[in-house]
């Protein structure tokens, strides 16, 4: 009974502590992330490779020899073409990121997405840069399309990003056309909701939502998303505004973390 009480109290203390304050990642958590990241990376790369092998080659078994030879050649050429295409697309993405990087006053650190956990309950992704590259908890993360989220956990060479569609995510936002300010909260698979916008405000589908820069986490003017619908029917003082995020979280590959030089942790 005493053992149970001790474990329960320790776990409650951990939960309460992390619920009330955003803290730097502890040493144990950093170690766990450091150990897990390369293993996850290897597993994901291996699985992707296996999937590619399955798609490209295994279906060829059983065809005529000639056909097999031609298809093999075709597959090799397709593989090479895919590699070049991947390289070309990566070049375009990196060039966009580089252009974006030069557009920020803050230092920006480019990182690769290792694991994407966004379709289970918690919408987070793991990236391959950590405190060794200057990243820390609370930093905003963007792509050339707009805001991705913020860092919630860091180890030396990996960080976890809370995506803006997670229900735990709140970003100070404004409507570009009317300059009305509100809070953009994640709504899971539904995207995001813009909250605390009075019913008297004019909000239309297609309105662009930007970061307002008020909380000091996200720089002002970053693209967050587009209004897809606004309803005044629900009770209360505020409208229900649905927002489609600008970033397609299913296609995240490279991101930029914005490191504000000389600033304190948000």
């Amino acid at each position: 009974m005493t053992v149970a009480a001790v474990f329960l109290i320790i776990s409650l203390i951990i939960l309460s502590y992390s619920a009330v304050r955003l803290s730097e990642t502890g040493l144990l958590r950093k170690l766990v992330l450091e150990i897990a990241t390369p293993i996850e990376d290897v597993i994901n790369i291996s699985f992707k490779g296996l999937q590619d092998v399955w798609k490209r080659y295994l279906f060829l078994v059983g065809l005529e020899d000639e056909n097999r030879r031609l298809r093999h050649e075709n597959a090799v050429l397709s593989g090479q073409l895919n590699q070049y295409r991947e390289g070309y697309l990566e070049g375009i993405r990196l060039r966009k990121l580089l252009n974006l990087k030069e557009g920020f006053k803050d230092r920006a650190v480019a990182a690769r997405v290792i694991d994407n956990d966004r379709t289970t309950l918690f919408k987070t992704v793991l990236i391959n840069k950590g405190t060794a590259d200057g990243l820390r908890v609370g930093l905003p993360v963007v792509t050339d399309r707009g805001v991705v989220g913020r860092i919630i956990e860091t180890s030396w060479h990996a960080s976890r990003i809370l995506l803006m569609i997670d229900e735990n995510s709140n970003i100070d936002a404004l409507i570009q056309r009317s300059r009305t300010q509100g809070i953009l909260q994640g709504a899971g698979p539904a995207g995001c909701n813009l909250k605390y916008i009075s019913k008297v405000e004019d909000v239309q589908a297609g309105d662009v939502i930007l970061s307002s820069g008020l909380a000091g986490v996200f720089p002002k003017g970053l693209l967050l998303g587009v209004v897809t619908g606004a309803s005044r029917r629900e009770g209360g003082l505020f409208q229900k505004i649905d927002v489609l995020p600008a970033v397609d979280f299913g296609r995240l590959e490279e991101v930029l973390a914005l490191v504000a030089e000389g600033s304190t942790q948000p």
Binding site: V3, F7, I14, A19, V32, E40, L121, N168, G188
Partner: protein, 165 residues
């Protein structure tokens, strides 16, 4: 002794496999929470200290790798472990039907606790997750749990045999 030193690494490996390979098999629609069945199995078969430590470590690793609220799974796994222990003291907990129903129930309770903690700690509504994620997860995990329990029994026998040598 060496097994006890290796145990944290084995548990971490389980959580990594769970959050990568198993998620791919379920097309990332639901999460295959094998770690929960390990905690329940521990509740049925281990003592308060060893099982509590196991549940604590599993929850901690899961928090490090997947949870958006740090400490959430550590707390829930400890609660589920002691709940399982209490239940195992009062009923015969070896029948497959009981194992399946109890695992499904624990999964649902865990989901409900997550939804309520989100509501009260963060003010966020994720009630949609109950029908979309937790109920399918509870059904799948419940159906698989008798097989997983049998597998864990083999592992336990193997580890005990190694330990006694």
């Amino acid at each position: 002794m060496i097994l006890y030193l290796l145990l944290p690494l084995l548990l971490l490996f389980l959580v990594i496999i769970q959050s990568t390979i198993l998620d791919i098999f379920t097309l990332r629609w639901i999460s295959m929470e094998i770690s929960l069945t390990v905690v329940i199995y521990a509740g049925f078969h281990l003592d308060a200290l060893r099982g509590g430590l196991l549940a604590f470590m599993l929850g901690f690793f899961l928090d490090c790798l997947t949870s958006a609220i740090f400490g959430l799974y550590t707390f829930l796994y400890i609660v589920i472990f002691y709940f399982s222990m209490m239940v195992a003291d009062k009923v015969y907990a070896e029948k497959p039907l009981f194992i399946a129903s109890f695992t499904g129930l624990c999964m649902l309770l865990e989901g409900l606790a997550i939804v309520l903690l989100y509501r009260f700690l963060l003010g966020a509504d994720i009630f949609y997750a109950i029908p979309r994620i937790f109920i399918p997860q509870a059904v799948v995990l419940g159906l698989l749990s008798p097989l997983l329990f049998r597998f864990f029994q083999h592992v336990e026998v193997f580890l005990n045999a190694k330990d006694s040598r």
